[in-house]
């Protein structure tokens, strides 16, 4: 016997909910594991929150499709490879995996270290900074624009376009749709311009490598290259910034953990994994069902949009020991901070390297810092950036 998904008063879209999502996740898991949230962009979407259900959705792409109808992010063609299901997905993914493999990341580490040192030089003697504006946003976006092969002089323009997709200042669903669509057209225009230029003349960058990549022995079409670039544009310009924000915001409020990172840089990789688990800076991935199914006793119809709460799976008492304890020495940490299944974050090894180098350099120069007096942090709903991360030291 199954009952239809209940409605919830939660939206997961309000800023006040984004400060402490873990308590909302817990309520959802315990009481409404399959639920329709309120809110302007979640209407008609079912949200799943238990680890077991999240794993099923990630591991069953034939039933929980990641195709482009699952989410509206301004693109008019599927993003490659994120919005392509198996078997086509694996061919494109195979062509892109080597670009982001750990062996490649070793080559980029010196440039990341050089840039973070320059950014820290700008603020270290001031005794205060806005960590988001001064460090967390410029570091990954500059690196990614350089790697991809977009003109670095236009990075501010690209950041504005990215925010136009991820955080449009819309008051209604219709307005959001129009804003996102218009911004998407601008992103296509930027990418088409650069891809045309690289097709005429290759440079030492990802776009040139992708142009020369083969799938089934054939080169990619110009549209394929642009569609890969669109995904990279959104993923590369936002997620590492939000992760750095979340990690440093946590450390600024938890002096014992901060001190341990400052005293023992070898713990940093473990601190990153644990805070990616606990904070889940990218807490949600979207899916859409291809057939009628059921989860936690609740029927789910074919064509349902599903919000998969990675953040909730990462703190589910059903599978974790002490999930609300942040423990850098945690023995077992199977976190889903980078998602899971065939769409596991393509850029995860780049993200880890950038986070590690940034935390090493920051704590070497500014080991003792805290939030500015009276500050109430502002976490954005969705991907969790903290744009008012004012630190003092």
């Amino acid at each position: 016997m199954t009952d239809a998904a209940p409605d919830s008063h939660y939206t997961l879209e309000r800023p006040e909910e984004a400060v402490d999502p873990q308590s909302i996740y817990r309520d959802l898991r315990d009481n409404t594991p399959v639920v329709q949230l309120s809110g302007r962009s979640t209407t008609g979407t079912l949200t799943i929150s238990r680890h077991e259900d999240v794993m099923t959705a990630l591991r069953t792409p034939e039933l929980f499709s990641s195709d482009s109808s699952a989410v509206q992010i301004g693109n008019t063609r599927p993003l490659v490879p994120l919005q392509v299901d198996p078997p086509h997905h694996s061919k494109h993914r195979k062509a892109l995996d080597p670009l982001f493999a750990p062996k490649q990341m070793v080559k980029y580490e010196p440039r990341v270290r050089e840039l973070i040192r320059e950014l820290i030089d700008e603020v270290a003697d001031n005794g205060h900074c806005n960590f988001h504006d001064d460090i967390a946003e410029p570091l990954p976006s500059t690196i990614f624009v350089e790697l991809l092969g977009l003109p670095v002089s236009r990075v501010d323009e690209f950041l504005a376009l990215k925010d136009g997709i991820i955080r449009p200042p819309a008051r209604s669903l219709e307005e959001r749709y129009e804003m996102v669509k218009a911004t998407g057209q601008k992103i296509y225009a930027v990418l088409e311009e650069v891809v045309e230029a690289r097709m005429a003349e290759r440079q030492d960058d990802f776009l040139s490598t992708i142009i020369d990549a083969k799938v089934d022995g054939q080169p990619l079409s110009r549209d394929d290259v642009v569609d890969i670039g669109y995904l990279f544009f959104l993923a590369g310009l936002d997620t590492v910034s939000a992760s750095l924000d979340c990690i440093v915001a946590y450390l600024a409020q938890n002096p014992d953990h901060r001190q341990r990172v400052a005293d023992d840089p070898a713990i940093i990789p473990h601190a990153i994994e644990e805070l990616l688990r606990y904070e889940s800076p990218v807490p949600i991935v979207p899916r859409i069902t291809t057939a009628d199914t059921e989860m936690s006793g609740c029927p789910i119809a074919e064509g349902s949009r599903i919000t998969v709460l990675l953040g909730s799976a990462n703190t589910d008492e059903r599978v974790w020991d002490n999930p609300h304890l942040v423990d850098f020495d945690r023995e077992s940490n199977k976190h889903l901070g980078f998602g899971g299944g065939v769409h596991r974050c393509l850029g995860s090894h780049l993200a880890r390297m950038e986070l590690r180098v940034a935390l090493e350099e920051w704590h070497d120069r500014v080991p003792d810092y805290r939030l500015a007096d009276g500050l109430e942090l502002r976490y954005s709903p969705g991907i969790r950036q903290v744009d008012n991360l004012e630190l003092v030291w």
Partner: protein
């Protein structure tokens, strides 16, 4: 103790070669290698357990020998 990687389940998270660098390394695509079942030297038993306990996909298969 024997260890292997289920290549159907492995998605290249990289937790095993991070935590058990004497047992696993990243291939050119970022996935774990080697994957074939093999005995774990006793001095690497702790690394093997950590790889097993930290794979988000449960792709690291550990067999404790009872004899």
């Amino acid at each position: 103790m024997r260890i292997r990687v289920d290549t159907e389940l492995c998605q290249g998270h990289g937790r095993c070669y991070m935590l058990a660098p004497d047992l696993f390394e990243a291939d050119d695509d970022g996935y774990s290698q080697p994957t074939a079942e093999r005995p774990v030297p006793s001095e690497l038993a702790d690394q093997a357990r950590r790889a097993f306990m930290n794979c988000p996909e449960d792709a690291v298969i550990l067999t404790e020998e009872t004899s």
